[in-house]
Amino acid sequence: MLTNSIYAAPETGLRARVRERSGEFVEQARSSFRHNPLGALGLGIILAIVLVAVFAPQLATYDPDKLNREARLLPPSAENWFGTDASGRDVYSRVVYGSRISLQVAVVVMLIATTVGSLLGAVAGFFGGLVDEILMRITDVFLAFPALILAMAVNAALGPGIGSAMLAVGFTWWPVYARLVRSQVMSVRSHPYVEAAICIGATRRRVLFRHILPNCAGPIIVQMTLDAGYVVLTVAGLSFVGLGAQPPSHEWGFMVSQGANHILTQWWWSTFPGLAICVLVVGLNLVGDFLRDGLDPRLSRTVV
């Protein structure tokens, strides 16, 4: 494939260049996936879950919130693939719709954490001095806590609900990004092009947001994918202890907690939503792993 682009007669024009470039990209991606097939598996899992979320109405066999007195606590069967819960709701349909909530959780929390973290980290790294010192000591205190415990306290204070759970987790996750962005900014700051931008009279804000931050994006994106799995787990955990999603939600962690008291008699109620969490988080972990290897060649070399 690659040899084609080298030996074939050179095409001219923008379109040809784009074709060549995208060919290279596809080739590169294919080779990385061949090197790490689990990355491809992870990507496949995430794509599948996104598709499930988009086509939930088509994939669900029942209305996820419809109560049915006649069909309570039925075991898995041809009609109810994952069985039904104590209110006669179809567990399969609820799991299908639940994918929307979990994907949304991952995106929203990561957005909150990266926005707050990047902003504080960039300011600390760019200005240095006392500002840096103060911001980093605050970050240290936050990092000294186990994140889940703090998220729980914040969630409890904000009141139960999936929205406050997302806010709480986002609020506890930013220090990681503050640290990361700070170190990135400090290394990018010394590059000649930043000096050049300052020389031609760009304002400090412009230099920071237009020249420095975009060049820190790589590690941030990798960290985001690595963290997304933890975030989904944490929010599911908050729902499990009753702080996150509230009835009649079909959030996966909440469904597991509802079925928890029935685990010995109606195992399917907790098992399938929990399995769904597993699949999503494993997919995210595999993609994160893959991206990290791609970004840091030293790491990928160590795993022969």
Partner: protein, 334 residues
Amino acid sequence: MYLYILRRLIFLVFVTIGITAILFVIMYFLPGDPARAAAGPGAKPEHVERIRIRLGLDQPLHIQYLTYMKNLMRGDLGNSIRTRKPVIVELRTYLPASLELVPTAMLFSVLVAVPLGVLSALRPGRAADATSRLFAALGMGMPVFWVALMAQFIFYGKLDILPFGGRLSTGAVPPEHVTGFYLIDSLLAGDLALFKDAVIHLSLPALVLALPEVAVISRLTRSSMLDVLTLDYVRTARAKGLREWRVIVVHALKNALLAPLTLMGMQVGWLLAGSLFVESVFSWGGIGFLAYHAIYKRDFPVLMGVTMVMCIVFVLANLVVDILYSYLDPRISY
């Protein structure tokens, strides 16, 4: 070295102050009213007001905080709103159960994960790498609370070989309180049957809690080991004719352990968080269990106490890791 430890302990004091400050601000601005919660539903307004004054909740934020810190210095963390007992007494009652569960899980995960990682490092190659990668992703991907439920379903519900939960069988009388650790107290009382009962009850929660750790630690041990095995001094050790196991266990492993060790320190936080789920599923009366109930009742003095204890344990664990560093690698000194 001692200076370094001292510096870290001073940092711990600042962390505690920071943590209490953050929690205090959060809890001050929360919508719920602890005075009303303490008075119970349907209490008269003047009664609620009396409780508010008794608890000092009518004071401004910074005064409340200073009072709290002043009491903290004397070891007084306030009283639980739910049970009215002093928080410090509650912590003392519940802490031993957690200190029994979490270190057991930690120990178990290290004992399994390190040999597993070393063994898989001896088989380099794509298949072994993919397996350990997948295993790590799975271990980290499974929600602890769900694993706990599945373990109950399989080992109690289906196989009926391990108990459903609790620290002792129903009807068993806890050993006389000496340390609060059932394993130690039952031995001190010379009651072997009770000791066995305690061990059996401990095994499943500890296994569940250890599972994600096993996955991550073995993965990191493997990659760190592979790194070290390519180094020159390992080749030298082999060249001078040392036995292979000696090269691996004595020479390579000691250096390869540095990376997993850092991780273990960080994982203590994850274990403490996980213990909250495991303790609530298995009705294990530890501080995670205590926190779980405090959340429901908005029992903030207790929640504050638990959070503080967990953070202190976390910081101390990482201090221990740093000290172990200089033991493993004499080049590191503080």
